[in-house]
């Protein structure tokens, strides 16, 4: 599957656009915080603080580095930064109160920090979202689609191909099966555009199958942090995900495991080596059937076996 890995040439002086997708499912963050020993809880608030430090570090690396932040929340995914100007004005007045405390802070850092925190606050205060039935997963497919559209726009407006983009996903929620096709679509278009997807998964034991595929297919990095490790969250971020695409070629980064894409049949969910695939809808079965249970089409004459198989 390593067909297009970094087909785009990267240069040392390229600007980097980092699109950060933060999984903001507060239920799952609470779960993570509860599992830790009392005293050194890693709450979403602390994560956010460390992420902001990471964003600032990214911006500080080069003067023309850009960043975009998207929240993948329960039932909705939304841009946290940048947001269009009309709304920005109202935010500005909102954030005025803590301006005095940070008067020594670099202007660009402060604008981003303020916007991300205030927009995230607004997201959590949004009552309408609390009634969403599915509280377990987050809208990762939507966030990835938004990220790709944004990257597409920025790349198009940059005629000399100076900006190189990458996506970093901070994930805490389990995969939502409903999003399988849409996430795969996103992965393939990212692969085509040559955008690596980095994934940082915070979980005690489970790997995210979708996101593992995402980073494997697009040539990004996949890193799973157990909850104990995640106390050094900022440290991992800085060491693994801060290097841009040019520098990465010279580094030996963690998370280069081989991923095996086993297939499971639709009927018994067994992992199989040889299966039967419906020619209409590409569903996989472990045995021959009369009727494809996905597309309800009648199967004729069973399987056409290859010539050699018959003669064997």
């Amino acid at each position: 599957m390593s067909s297009i890995k970094d087909s785009v040439t990267v240069n040392e002086d390229d600007a980097n656009l980092l699109v950060l997708i933060i999984d903001t499912n507060q239920m799952n963050w609470t779960k993570v915080a509860n599992k830790q020993a009392m005293g050194n809880c890693l709450t979403l608030q602390q994560i956010l603080r460390q992420l902001l430090a990471f964003i600032n570090a990214h911006l500080a690396l080069k003067h023309d580095n850009e960043v975009a932040v998207i929240a993948s929340h329960i039932g909705v995914s939304k841009f946290l930064y940048p947001i269009p100007t009309t709304r920005q004005k109202t935010r500005r007045s909102h954030g005025d109160s803590d301006q005095s405390s940070n008067s020594n802070m670099y202007q660009r850092f402060r604008v981003i920090d303020d916007q991300v925190t205030s927009n995230m606050k607004a997201l959590f205060e949004n009552e309408a979202l609390k009634s969403c039935p599915d509280k377990v997963s987050s809208m990762m497919a939507g966030a990835l689609s938004l990220a790709l559209c944004y990257i597409n726009r920025i790349t198009k407006s940059d005629e000399i191909g100076h900006i190189k983009s990458r996506i970093l996903i901070i994930s805490v929620s389990p995969d939502s099966p409903y999003q399988y096709i849409s996430i795969m679509n996103c992965i393939f278009s990212a692969q085509k555009l040559g955008i690596p997807i980095d994934v940082c998964k915070i979980s005690e034991s489970d790997n995210s199958v979708f996101l593992q595929q995402a980073s494997h297919i697009t040539g990004g990095r996949y890193l799973r942090l157990s909850i104990d490790q995640s106390r050094g969250f900022l440290h991992f971020l800085m060491k693994t995900f801060l290097p841009d695409r040019f520098v990465r070629r010279h580094l030996c980064l963690p998370g280069d495991e081989k991923v095996d894409f086993g297939a499971a049949c639709f009927c018994h969910k067994k992992t199989i080596n040889i299966g039967y695939v419906c020619s209409v809808c590409l569903s996989i079965y472990c045995q021959q059937l009369e009727e494809c249970s996905t597309c309800r089409s009648k199967v004729t004459n069973g399987v056409k076996r290859s010539k050699t198989n018959e003669s064997l």
Binding site: C149, A263, V303
Partner: protein
């Protein structure tokens, strides 16, 4: 070229003239004299041309977009032969740099894109020159083999006239061995206006029809009656290029899998292997190229070593794929609905939902001399979000997801899935698969 029977000849020539008048408003590249491109441009109040150029560009992008989004059954597994005319007519320079050079570079792009969108399909190449047809590559699932064959200078020198009948017969004889669950297709790029055939081509055409082979032809010079007849009989498409860009459009129209004809619409379960990957410290020989490799896959049935998938096992002929390859084809089954243009009176949004670019405001509604502008907003019927033209194109051509539908409430999402997949009742099946 062999003579068609007089009756059918008259009939089709009549049709030719009619469609020519209706559809071909703009001329072919070889009959074009000059363009008065400055007539369509109008300055706005600041004396700038930007907005009217943008407007024209948007119309152009949009034209390419409207496509069929109904959930019809498509032949995902395809077997295709690409036939390239290598007659002397290909040396003409009306398409720059020459018909041949442009054809070869587009053919390469076509092959890459074809395998990208149809990962479990197969493609082979036939060239036709000096009255004979020659097979460069047999049907294979590997894009690089085909491209390397096209890059070989020895394979692409031009000579004499092409032979329609010989090349179609050669393609047909290779295609009839393919299993019936896959579609059989021929794509012919034809530069010459003549053909040098050994027998009655109408018999060959009837054979093609009988064997369910679909022939699509892209003509580089002018419309040829026999080509049109072939495409009509075999339910393919026939197009004659107007210019370089149109050539590419015509070729790339063939890439999405075609709807399945009624005759072959019964489904089959195809046996496929999902090979496991291997990494070894010492090199071993692969079964497909006989070259030493250190990493690759082993066939799920006969344990032979393969260097890359998707492919057909060279030893036991089992189709070898991985689950992401199958996933690559899903977007053909669940296409995104076309967005509709938003009229100015309901253009209330200020920025694109997906990329956050700001929309033109109401004050920019009209250009001087009352040239009508569009609001620049495009609406998804399902989630009612507005998108800009670039996102519209990008969503339909690259992502194949509507960001609006996916980024708003999941509640809606489930009901949406139900609507989209009317004929896929057990949609949930797909989800289970990935949790392997």
């Amino acid at each position: 070229m062999s003579k068609p029977s007089s009756k059918s000849k008259e009939f089709f020539i009549d049709i030719d003239d009619e469609t020519q008048n209706v559809n071909q408003q703009s001329g072919y590249v070889w009959e074009e004299e000059y363009k008065r491109s400055w007539d369509v441009l109008q300055e706005d109040e600041d004396g700038s041309l930007k907005r009217s150029i943008d407007h024209l560009q948007n119309r152009l992008k949009r034209k390419r977009l409207l496509r069929d989004t109904s959930t019809i059954r498509r032949g995902i597994i395809r077997n295709m032969f690409l036939i390239i005319d290598l007659s002397e007519a290909m040396m003409e320079k009306d398409l720059r740099p020459s018909r041949l050079d442009l054809t070869l570079s587009y053919a390469e792009q076509f092959i890459l894109e074809f395998f990208d969108q149809n990962p479990i399909s197969q493609l082979g190449i036939i060239v036709s020159k000096g009255g004979v047809a020659e097979r460069l590559t047999g049907l294979s699932g590997n894009p690089m083999d085909n491209i390397i064959a096209l890059k070989n200078k020895k394979n692409i020198d031009v000579d004499g006239e092409p032979s329609l009948q010989n090349s179609l017969e050669l393609a047909r004889s290779s295609l009839i061995h393919t299993p019936t669950h896959g579609s059989r297709e021929i794509l012919l790029i034809m530069g010459s206006l003549t053909s040098c055939d050994p027998g009655d081509i109408y018999e060959s055409i009837e054979d093609l029809v009988k064997d369910n082979v679909r022939v699509s032809i892209v003509g580089l010079s002018a419309e040829v009656q026999i080509c049109k007849y072939i495409c009509k009989r075999t339910k393919g498409t026939y197009g004659v290029v107007l210019n370089e860009a149109h050539f590419k459009d015509l070729l790339f129209e063939i890439i999405p899998p075609p709807p399945v004809s009624v005759a072959q619409s019964n489904s089959k379960l195809v046996m496929m292997g999902f090979p496991s990957s291997v990494n070894q410290s010492s090199p071993y020989l692969c079964a497909c190229h006989n070259k030493p490799v250190t990493s690759g896959y082993t066939c799920a049935r006969c344990n032979s070593n393969i260097c890359d998938i998707p492919t057909e096992c060279p030893i036991c002929e089992l189709t070898l794929v991985s689950s992401p390859h199958l996933a690559r084809s899903y977007h053909h089954l669940f296409p995104v609905e076309n967005y509709t243009e938003v009229p100015w009176n309901s253009a209330t949004t200020t920025h694109c939902f997906a990329c956050q670019i700001s929309f033109p405001s109401l004050s920019e509604r009209t250009l001087p001399k009352n040239l009508e502008t569009s609001s620049g907003r495009y609406n998804c019927q399902k989630c009612n979000q507005h998108f800009c033209i670039d996102c519209d194109v990008f969503v339909h051509e690259a992502i194949h997801n509507c960001p609006g539908c996916l980024a708003t409430s999941q509640n809606n999402l489930k009901s949406l899935m139900g609507q989209v997949n009317g004929n896929f009742e057990n949609y949930e099946n797909y989800e289970k698969m990935n949790l392997s």
